[in-house]
Symmetry: C2
């Protein structure tokens, strides 16, 4: 898998997507499809789609909507020229009644005529911008998953969707804090400015060394823990809403679009 990953790093988004579609690669996508927007995925039956879309609209920092499929159409036409949502993600989580039921690499057999696919922006975009500005991102340099926590910040509910906002944490050198805030604010489709920095307890986090998802990361002296709204938030909302079926990406195994990282809008005219 690691050798494959290193090969894919230098390939185009179309090439990477072809390998994923052929099930030749099932790993994480951090660092792949460089300069193209990556996104979180949630697929729901149409009965739930309007409420979920309202949930995203009301919570744009954790759930920035970058694309929505037509009902029953697996081609994400506004995000890519040849983008089949059933095969082009390296790994999927299948939730039944709000509970994670299985992990698969292809959902062709599960696809239904009433499914709607939602793509939500992710943090890779601003992390890439931080790296380009010479600001180190610890979990990338150490090849771990960013630490994520269930905060006590409540989302704005919509229908059955609601619950706590999930946040991701990056320790930032105190003297780069202002720069990091202003860089990330430029990417509203990638969670925008942080929702909090400083004392973790202020947003209900009791142990910064014990994330609810992902791997722990150090907060050395001279750095401040900075918290961004996180794309895992809708997965918590889904466990609360308990739809009969919902399919998401496996965390870190994202949807790679044809949209440029710095595009003004996230839409391709089909």
């Amino acid at each position: 898998m690691n050798q494959m990953f290193n090969q894919l790093k230098s390939q185009t988004t179309a090439q990477v997507r072809a390998e994923i579609r052929a099930c030749a690669y099932g790993g994480h996508t951090a660092g792949l499809g460089k300069n193209n927007l990556q996104a979180n995925l949630a697929i729901l039956p149409a009965d739930y789609a309007l409420d979920f879309m309202r949930f995203c609209q009301r919570n744009p920092k954790p759930c920035p909507l970058v694309g929505v499929s037509d009902t029953g159409n697996p081609m994400m036409q506004t995000l890519g020229r040849d983008f089949d949502i059933r095969t082009d993600i390296p790994a999927y989580y299948v939730y039944r009644d709000g509970v994670l039921a299985e992990t698969v690499t292809d959902i062709t057999n599960l696809w239904r005529d009433d499914f709607v696919a939602f793509a939500l922006g992710c943090s890779f975009t601003f992390e890439h911008a931080l790296e380009q500005a010479g600001i180190p991102v610890w979990h990338i340099e150490n090849n771990t998953t960013v630490p994520m926590f269930a905060s006590n910040i409540q989302t704005v509910p919509a229908g059955p969707f609601g619950g706590a906002m999930v946040v991701s944490m990056r320790a930032i050198a105190d003297d780069r804090l202002d720069q990091v805030i202003s860089i990330s604010k430029r990417f509203p489709m990638a969670h925008g400015a942080p929702v909090h920095f400083g004392d973790p307890a202020a947003i209900g986090i009791t142990d910064i060394a014990a994330p609810d998802w992902g791997d722990p990361a150090p907060v050395p002296t001279g750095t401040t823990p900075v918290f961004w709204a996180c794309g895992v938030t809708p997965q918590v909302a889904i466990t609360q809403a308990k739809p009969p079926i919902c399919i998401t990406h496996k965390p870190g195994h994202m949807l790679i679009t044809d949209i440029a990282d710095d595009a003004e809008t996230t839409i391709i005219h089909p």
Copy 2:
């Protein structure tokens, strides 16, 4: 009406909304509720809501979604503390089967349990920013309505919604063009950067002196006509989709929210 308008200009958004709710004021809202975000309105039956919301997501420059009501709930809870969409807009257009049927100042008797209200950002926000930067906006200084044109730029369709993008035109001094583009780009919820500047024919406009909506405005020597995506676009999409009923604001008679003009997100936690 003019005397009332001058009184309202110095009042708070809550006071302005109370006068509109009491039907004491039915005029345009340009210059009212200063520093608060204003928005276009579209109310549709729930059967059309998911497709319309997809239409807005796919066309974020003409249709930037700033708020969506719960189905059947006339209180726009994410846009204001006490905001009744049935009474708090100065004037409404009622479309039946895609045709403008009547203009009213209150829709309480028309409201239905299956209605969903959509608020879409408008150009007042960036015009205000241009004025603060010392850039004159001719139609404001001359108390006319901005000229609007049906362009040949096609929207990205969603279900029955589609059609041409409507654009608004402001003539900008050639030496301020870069500044105007960069200021307006900062307001993605108010149409963002222009979609075109220069030759009107390039986007299908044959006579710059004869707008399809609004009033003509001059393009003096030393200025460039600059075109922004316009919030009238969804009204064209609605005449194409022909829903049995649809209610919009009367152009210029906007919804005034409690959201700050420069807020990072357009959502109040109810």
